[in-house]
Amino acid sequence: MTEIPTTSAFTPERLAKVKEIIARYPEGRQKSALLPVLHLAQEQWGWLSSEVMDQVAELLSIEPIEVYEVATFYTMFHLQPVGKHVIEYCRTGPCCLMGAEGVYDHLQARLGIKTGQTTPDGLFTLKEVECLAACGWGPVFQIREKYYMNLTNEKVDSILDELSK
């Protein structure tokens, strides 16, 4: 799993980015920076621990509870440690019409894990998500910002092979 201790601080580059983001909004509206800053935090630590969220609260001069209630509302934020690659698989209707259920069965069998679990080597976490706005290009999953579309069992195998190297 993720090795980085979550008590560490934002990297200087990210800290500069946080300042830049806050400056986008009108005076006194720095809370608007919360979602972009949480994304930055997750990019650094892989998930959002309460220590990390407290840091974010301090940077934005808001209460920690304001960060927790937002982080728990949005599905993209991981509140538990996750594997190196989080596979977010679309399970919604249109993708199912394109054969998503069969490909998902294959993916789970190949990884030997079910939804929500992480492989013992800490490489992959599997998450089911709703429509990713790629329905005509389904079945689809996402790993970080990358979309993998028109998936087949063979394609899944070669993607996993590539990422396991």
Partner: protein, 446 residues
């Protein structure tokens, strides 16, 4: 060749870059608007075009702009809704990744028209790579003097901010989006007041969909009247349709409104017809929230008229026999699709995405999901089918935002048109729960 207002240049290699976009006539509309027109004149052209909100509700864009309150000394905002999360809809995704400058140009023209000096594009967080594409386009436009201070020497200043969401369908609802943009949970607000009066930071705000705004470059170049001459009746212009499901060529297509559904489905220019060897069973015409219709109501309305791709024709027959254009998510089902399974899947989606503020939506979507799960997995009773209709009725119209309705309509319409299929799941639980099992009695089109 059918007219293309949004995608005419989308196939040109490199069109996502400033230089190629510019060489193909990009940013001439912005120059025209800023150098030769007053903001009021730009609003006037939007009104004349008759263009209706492409996010799904179809509210006339020019009219909404006309409703924007303009109190002295208070900033006004334009917020572009790029949260696109309606199952079956992926056209904004396509437009932004292929021709990002069309949206940026539209945003600058629209912000100028509304007198906004800071505007936002709220993109669903999953589309982080699209956010990077948009940020690059913004940097290019700024470097070329088309964004920032004193645009083209006009004295008009504009800053464009791209904001990521965090993964929540409800943040596509405009007031939830504004809450989210303020750094909060995406709980919809009561309307009225509409955002046009009290929106972002309690200031007057216009929220428009990506596709709505992207139309502005063409409208300024050719005039609102020319736009209004495209399309049919009050469905003016073109529309991007996201086509998915059991067709030969899933993808995003730009159509002139008024094209027949039959041509859209079967012509090689568009969907290319149902997959080989299969037959049309049902259609969801405008994203998961709109009613599903059975094959015999797809090409013809109940009155026997040709069904057209327009706001009016698709909803002809109301809930009894019609559907809606909505956001243009055209989902096609052939005879291999199980309607009960799909309805359960959609119900699970709405339950998962309910923000939980209103009890009819929070509890009702949960109930529907549970009952549909029972039916799909062979433990349902005939009574459950009526129970579903009853729960759907209790949600409809009793909630803060239309997500409740959006959850109720697919269930109510599926039972209305495919009741026998639900009953078969109750009467034949063993058969119905075999992998890939589908009720064979539903009428299909050869």
């Amino acid at each position: 060749m059918a007219i293309k207002i949004l995608t005419e240049h989308s196939h040109i290699p490199g069109i996502e870059t400033f230089d190629v976009y510019r060489k193909n006539g990009g940013y001439t509309a912005l120059e025209k608007a800023i150098k030769t027109m007053s903001p009021e004149e730009v609003v006037e052209e939007a009104k004349k075009s008759g263009v209706r909100g492409r996010g799904g509700a179809g509210f006339p864009m020019g009219m909404k702009w006309g409703f924007l309150a303009k109190p002295e000394g208070v900033p006004r905002y334009l917020v572009c809704n790029a949260d696109e999360s309606e199952p079956g809809t992926f056209k904004d995704h396509y437009l932004m990744k292929t021709i990002p400058h069309l949206l940026i140009e539209g945003m600058i023209i629209s912000s100028y028209a509304l007198g906004a000096n800071k505007s936002f594009i709220y993109v669903r967080g999953e589309l982080m790579y699209v956010i990077q594409i948009l940020e690059k386009a913004i940097a290019e436009a700024t470097a070329n003097g088309l964004l920032g201070n004193n645009i083209l020497g006009s004295g008009y200043d504009l800053e464009l901010v791209v904001q990521p969401g965090g993964g929540a369908y409800i943040c596509g609802e405009e007031t939830a989006l504004l809450e989210s943009l303020e750094g909060k949970r995406g709980n919809p607000r009561n309307k009225p007041p509409f955002p046009a009066v009290k929106g972002l930071y309690q200031s007057p705000t216009v929220v428009n969909n990506v596709e709505s705004i992207a139309n502005m470059a063409w409208i300024i170049n050719h005039g609102g009247e020319a736009y209004a001459s495209v399309g049919i009746g009050r469905s003016t212009g073109t529309k991007l349709i996201s086509a998915s499901g059991h067709i030969k060529k899933p993808g995003v297509y730009e159509i002139e409104l008024g094209l027949s559904v039959e041509e859209f489905m079967n012509s090689d220019e568009y969907c290319g017809g149902i997959r080989d060897g299969h037959h049309l069973k049902a259609l969801v015409a405008g994203g998961s929230s709109v009613p599903i219709i059975p094959a015999h109501l797809v090409y013809k309305t109940a009155n026997g008229e040709d069904r057209l791709m327009s706001y009016e024709s698709l909803s002809d027959g109301g809930f009894a026999t019609g559907t809606m254009l909505g956001s243009g998510g055209f989902i096609v089902f052939d005879e291999t699709a199980c309607i009960v399974r799909n309805t359960w899947n959609f119900s699970r989606f709405y339950h998962h995405e309910s923000c939980g503020q209103c009890s009819p939506c929070r509890e009702g979507t949960g109930w529907m999901e549970k009952v549909l799960h029972r039916l799909e997995h062979g433990h349902g009773s005939m009574h459950d089918i009526d129970l579903l209709v009853d729960v759907a009725k209790k949600i409809e119209g009793n909630t803060i935002c239309p997500l409740g309705d959006a959850a109720a309509w697919p269930v109510a319409s599926a039972i209305r048109h495919f009741r026998e299929e639900f009953e078969w799941h109750v009467s034949h639980p063993k058969e119905a729960t075999l992998p890939g099992a589908v009720y064979k009695g539903a009428a299909v089109l050869a």
